[in-house]
Subunit: 518 residues, 2 copies
């Protein structure tokens, strides 16, 4: 019997109906799962033959074309030592070298510890972690319109993510706080994650000293010894596709891996721009690039926590603009998921992606296909699970709330189908009989509170009720909702000594360096 277990994780694992009831209430984080443990199978788009063919082409790229590692002699030394063919900054890899390095020491699953131990997440295996969108310079809400993000917006999104039962992670650069100097933002961002949330977080990787600061703040919060032994922070490294890693990225990668902290390696390929316009080639390229970065973390420190990422997208044929949530990237990410599983590395995919400017039908449709397929593809760490608009240029408040609701639905989907005696309800059939309704049946009364996902935002009342309440569309309801959640927000507890040490460290670092604004 495929009894679906509760979608519940870590220390809070608690099966059964009670957990589901609490989990589905949509209210607060009290009983929410720390992460998802998937109870449904992954969707296997390609068979063995197709996957082997892609792997062969990725190997061919590694052997024949190679990758450039620019401005980082230490990386070139590591590759040479590992047996690669290094000429200047061009590195070519003998057949099988890169996957062999990965398989030798990579961890198929690791724990990222949160400040609240009950919120620590498992990354890899059958687990899925939803994390907010990342990296937007702009924010949008219905009242305030589209504008540059500020540290206030950043804190708002940290609080909204903390308050949501359906996000397991606090994320990283949720939006760029452009009112803070560019060389000091990382301090305020990491502090906001540590102070206004207790979920796991991502640090800065835009320069090695910022990666180091991010980790140092975690050492203050978690304890130095603990951080040496455990992963408490993730850094997201974008490859300079096609086939280039520059020193900004590799230095941050080396810093994090050496410190035993997690790295997400993400080839960023818009087909036709940073890679070929045909899907198969872009996937092979992405696989080659990702494998090289993953292997590099293992050369720096065998066993360093690492996530294999992908970001493949398409172009609008009419405008040349990037498009998101389209069927070609959906296909790509499903295949990339299969490739990562064959390597035995945790997988990151993008989440609720869209090119839309608004949380309208386009925004929701593109995001839904992208997020649903990432889940079906077995993604372990889903960045951009909530808030993403306009190809990542904008973090939307309403979009965030709507996406989070979809994340909630996916908790139910990924929990699968309970096939137990209660599920089959044979006593209800005998009680109700033929042609009568089940509304008052014992079995219905026993189960109705937990039977179905309870959306916080969907309107399912009658047209008349809906019209009387103002004929609000989903975006309007989401606008009211995020404001309410912020009003209801209560910060998680923090040791005052730790808080003082964090603010003290930040003040000293800020005083030590002049402001830079670009």
């Amino acid at each position: 019997m495929t009894a679906a277990e509760a979608v519940d994780g870590g220390r809070r694992r608690s099966g059964g109906r009670e957990a589901r009831r609490e989990r589905r209430s949509g209210a607060g984080t009290a009983a929410a799962p720390a992460f998802i443990t998937r109870q449904v199978p992954t969707y296997e788009l390609l068979g063995e033959e197709g996957l082997a063919l892609i792997e062969r082409h990725a190997e061919q790229l590694l052997q024949e074309v190679g990758l450039e590692f620019r401005g980082d002699p230490e990386v070139l030394r590591l590759w040479q030592e590992a047996g690669a063919d290094v000429r200047g900054e061009l590195v070519r890899f003998p057949a099988g070298l890169v996957p062999a390095i990965i398989r030798r020491s990579v961890r198929p699953q690791f724990t990222q510890h949160a400040r609240n131990p009950a919120r620590s997440v498992e990354i890899g295996g059958r687990h899925t972690v939803f994390s907010p969108a990342y990296g937007s310079p702009f924010v949008y809400d219905r009242a305030g319109g589209r504008r540059y993000g500020t540290i206030k917006d950043f804190e708002n999104f940290v609080k909204l993510a903390y308050a949501s039962p359906w996000l397991h992670h606090s994320g990283g650069t949720i939006c760029e706080p452009v009112d803070v100097p560019v060389n000091k933002r990382h301090l305020d961002m990491v502090y906001a994650h540590l102070r206004w949330s207790d979920k796991a977080l991502m640090g800065s990787v835009t320069a090695p000293e910022r990666a180091e600061d991010s980790i140092e703040l975690c050492r203050v919060a978690f304890g130095r010894d603990f951080v040496e032994q455990n992963c408490v922070i993730l850094g997201n490294i974008n490859v300079n596709s096609p086939l280039v890693y520059d020193v900004t990225m590799t230095a941050a990668l080396r810093t994090s891996a050496a410190a035993n902290q997690g790295i997400v390696v993400v080839p960023f390929i818009l087909g036709g721009a940073m890679g070929p316009v045909t899907i198969a080639g872009a996937i092979a390229q992405s696989h080659a690039e990702a494998m090289a970065g993953v292997a590099l973390t293992q050369l720096v420190r065998p066993g360093a926590p690492v996530i294999y990422g992908s970001f493949l997208s398409s172009l609008s044929l009419r405008t040349g603009a990037p498009t998101f949530g389209m069927p070609e990237p959906v296909l790509s990410h499903l295949v990339v998921g299969q490739l990562a599983r064959r390597l035995g590395v945790p997988l990151r995919c993008g989440g609720a992606l869209t090119g839309s400017k608004l949380a309208d039908a386009q925004g929701a449709q593109e995001s839904s296909d992208a997020l649903f397929s990432a889940c079906l593809g077995g993604a372990n760490f889903i960045l951009h699970a909530a808030g993403w608009l306009e190809g990542g240029l904008v973090m939307g408040y309403e979009k965030f709330m709507l996406d989070v609701d979809h994340c909630g639905m996916l908790h139910t989907f990924l929990a699968g189908l309970p096939l137990d005696e209660n599920g089959f309800a044979m006593e209800a059939f005998r009680e109700v009989g033929i042609g009568k309704h089940y509304l008052g049946a014992q079995h219905t009364l026993k189960n109705y509170q937990t039977a179905f996902y309870d959306s916080a935002l969907a309107s399912n009342e009658s047209y008349e009720q809906w019209a009387e309440a103002g004929s609000q569309d989903a975006d309007t309801r989401a606008h009211a909702r995020w404001q309410q959640v912020l009003r209801d927000y209560e910060p998680p507890p923090i040791d005052p000594g730790v808080d003082a040490a964090l603010t003290d460290f930040i003040a000293r670092r800020k005083a030590a360096i002049p402001d830079a604004w670009y």
Copy 2:
């Protein structure tokens, strides 16, 4: 090598890039596929053990609880003759009887002929057919608001479906034309399908004489002998769940099956109302009900074309209202798809379902999950693929256009991933090298026009361009689009003699019966 073939069907099968280019142009029906031939695998949610368990519970319902067939002695006679245990109107079925009847004569795939032979559809196997939404009393558009449907609206939707390259079927009661007497509507509806489209259609089943009229109109259009030998019309039969078939439905079923015309058998179960509130029980019930109806068509006429349907939904815990596009029905439909495939019967699932009043984020998100999962589940005939709003109460013009665009995307998804030499683009990697862009590469120039799905409605231009064009949301763009498509509409050719015979038949039938309005 898993070379994905073109998603193309029937007489128009034409592989290769040219077909894809035309298909993706989004303009007109000229080169669109008559139906989809799926090149990706189905998603198998449950394993053998889980499926066998559901089948066992469905058998238990058939054996122990039974079904009632009300008001139709002929049906009771057929069941008795087939070996069922008939007591009054209650029918119980010995173990294995119902699936055995089905397996003996059911056709796993059949052709539904369209008036234009190039538009005939294959139903079953690896094929998927998208059909418009069905049965709404109301229509909605941004300018006209929510109102009762008229025959003018009905004709508009027939024309919009005809004009879309991504819908393969003209559908049936796209909206109720409430300005036409209830007992004569079927004549005008079937005429509209036959006259303003040349795609395959569905007839009326609300009374046996209406089913007969629908078929008779097809005999005029296709020729009497042709209709006796071939399926040219489908009828959608909803079961009176739980566990009841009434004479209105079974008489229409008998009429259609005897005439060798297609029947879609659809248990309609809102969990907690017409069936148990838990998913497994509702699926077992749906399977039992659907199998009984499918088997009945085979008792009437072995080999009669029949489709196994399902419509399982959930309830809002807060309002008691039905909900759509939620994760529980998504899970259910995936399992139902597996059960239908094991029986060897073509499968119908609902498409772009939503409880939303508008084509907003809720409408798009719920619809996307429902439609995408129906495709992944291998549905062969997807009713409600476009236009559905408000739990089926409303047919939306803008929603229709947005859904159709999603259907277009799913054509690309279901075509899978070309893993040929051009797809892997090794010459492009060698040409471009490292760290450079692919925009001007030979391979890009050769492929860019066909590389990606070209959405007719998505906005992917820059924010500035979008703002300058009026900051339109997707719903606003869809509003302009359906009006434009209707302005550009040109009817398909029809033999004037056939047209005259159709209108003559309709005039005579209308004159022979007094108007009824309810």
